[in-house]
Symmetry: C2
């Protein structure tokens, strides 16, 4: 990594602008980071951004980065996870949004490669032992590629409870996992999970949009949730109370057209109230284990269903909306849930349910980037033949 | 109850024709039961129906009915639950269907009055302690009218597991509950639930379409499930394995346009696999307790939501399909889910989800007979004002 002027300017901007504040996004796209930073420094206004921009010593930031063994990944780098660029187009939540200026990272893992096939597993910090078992089992199976299934990188926030269980499951399976933190990577957070932080940075990778030396803020946690959702193809909410950060991650995933999944639990458990709400309101697909997650996320041709046998009968057994969604697929190329909803007349929630069924039947497949396409042998608009 | 010719002929027909066999339905509607029975007796064919019709001694059946303290309710009686007539129009499942010739009954409860506001609670015989707790809690709350809520009669099948838990909950709350049995009411079935059978017949009511002296058959259990669904406004599946009778009840409920509900549970529990399937496939609304059930079943004006406050904002917050379903409501009178689906373009599963939300917002209400209407203050096709 070389500290060219643009990279350094972006690094400084992460110290100047709060995470999730995208008011500079347009200017940045037009003029570049160096010009934006120069403009702030030259400003005569006594606002917080110009003041911070003038006061910060870039050399100090570079030295701190080196001292803590960090790197700073920016758009255009081979290690830049291009999924994050979706944040430029998805809109805002709680007044936050936007592509981060860059990602502070440390660890042997390549963030771009690891996030190419990644699923977020999130949930309550105040989790139940049931939820922790589910989180750990999902982490083991998805990151470990159990039963010969494809390996999915487990993305989570390194927090107590479900996050930690999912990370630990992935680490136990020696699978890939990314810790996405809300504070600077010079300090392990939360302190009680310092061992987890060290294992993640030692064996995989940890990332943050917040520079070293900055503590996580309440705003930072909400901004961080958008990165977790953006880095993944789908988000599994394992446990969530009625009001919870995990539901915020689900909302980001929805905004980003990621696959939103939620795990049910005992109705007497307060930590399942939020997941039941997500399912009941049609905002998440119910998943009961790694098989359901694989089916929903499976890239083209991976769903292990024999599609040559009895497809005509299979088509006849589809429900009205499953048929409508299936017939809304283009013969070639990919499409989004939004397009399918418009073309089929089936609302988004219904489309998600139909897609689940069609994937498990082997008729369609996820492309791995949030879009969907026909499985190789299926063709829409007619009963599906054996050819 | 007087044994006029028509009632006696219908009683004899329950001994001649297997439960759920509706091949005589058309003839019965045109010519009446006495003529149908006379025709069978006069037939020269050596089929099972003519043989049974000739061999049966009606006097013997009348005596057995009297001896066991039973009554036989037929269409036209004040105690006839007219909901059962929906079975004439809903089609078949597993080759079975149709309105029963009559209902054998015993107990102080009035079947018509009790089923006017009734909810079925069904589930696995091989239930978990979790499921039994849910079933009992639902029975207590719904039949007991907990927290000043309206009383709902609990309909179930008297079986081990969830059925028994729901009945016992209702009895514990001194609420109304109907046991719908697959065999003749002269014998308690299953024997291990004889105490439950005796309590139901002593304090509430038990019914069967099968005459005294007949044991329950495998076919009889499936035919019985249609009566459970038909007698209720909605069916709650508390626990169900992947293949289970409870899912058969849910299928009948769907066919009858009853509200189908399912309770989630731990993903590691085999007895929740079936309920999770029903929810995932959009065939049941997820319910977590009596409040959800009340909201879905609440008759006009009962949903305790203040509908005068901020309805305009409320309408703006509806999802695309919730708006579409709401606008598909007629200004006056009731409508069915099927009609709403056609008019709104939202598939059935999506309609159910939207109805749940609209009920809980106080915009629409269930009429108590499986149809839906606008709540008093709501009007479709325009932002909802405060008037």
């Amino acid at each position: 990594m070389t500290w060219d002027e643009e990279r350094l300017a972006r690094a400084v901007l992460t110290c100047v602008v709060d995470p999730g504040d995208d008011r500079l996004a347009g200017l940045l796209a037009r003029e570049g980071a160096a010009a934006v930073l120069a403009g702030l420094r030259a400003s005569h206004r006594d606002d917080v951004w110009p003041r911070r921009a003038r006061e910060l010593d870039p050399a100090c930031l570079v030295e701190r980065t080196r001292a803590h063994g960090l790197r700073f990944i920016v758009p255009g780098d081979a290690e830049w996870p291009t999924r994050l660029d979706d944040l430029a187009r998805c809109g805002q939540l709680n007044g936050m949004g936007g592509v981060p200026f860059g990602l502070w990272a440390t660890g042997p893992g390549d963030v771009a490669a690891m996030s190419a096939q990644a699923v977020a597993i999130v949930g309550s910090r105040a989790s139940s032992s049931y939820g922790e078992r589910v989180g750990a089992d999902l982490g083991v199976a998805l990151a470990g590629g159990a039963s010969g299934r494809p390996v999915w990188t487990v993305v989570s926030g390194g927090a107590y409870g479900i996050d930690a269980a999912a990370h630990r499951g992935a680490l136990a399976a020696r699978g890939p996992t990314i810790g996405v933190y809300a504070g600077g990577l010079d300090v392990a957070y939360p302190l009680g999970n310092a061992d987890l932080f060290e294992r993640l940075r030692g064996e995989c990778v940890v990332v943050s949009e917040v520079p070293p030396g900055h503590s996580p803020s309440r705003r930072g946690f909400l901004a961080r949730n958008r990165l977790i959702a953006a880095l993944a193809t789908g988000v599994v909410v394992v446990e969530a109370a009625a009001r919870s950060g995990a539901k915020n991650s689900a909302a980001w995933a929805d905004l980003l057209h990621r696959v939103v999944m939620a795990v049910p639990g005992p109705v007497y458990s307060v930590t399942s109230v939020g997941t039941h709400q997500l399912i009941r309101d049609g905002r998440a697909s119910l998943v009961t284990g790694p098989d359901d997650v694989w089916a929903l996320l499976a890239p083209l041709g991976v769903a292990d269903v024999d599609v040559t046998r009895g497809q005509a009968r299979l088509f006849d057994r589809l429900s009205h909306d499953q048929q409508a969604v299936f017939e809304a697929f283009p013969a070639r190329g990919t499409t989004t849930v939004g397009e399918l909803s418009v073309r089929s007349g089936v609302p988004m929630a219904g489309c998600h349910a139909a897609l689940t069924a069609l994937v498990s039947l082997g008729l369609i497949a996820a492309s791995g980037d949030g879009t969907w396409r026909l499985a190789r042998r299926a063709a829409p608009g007619r009963p599906v033949g054996p050819g």
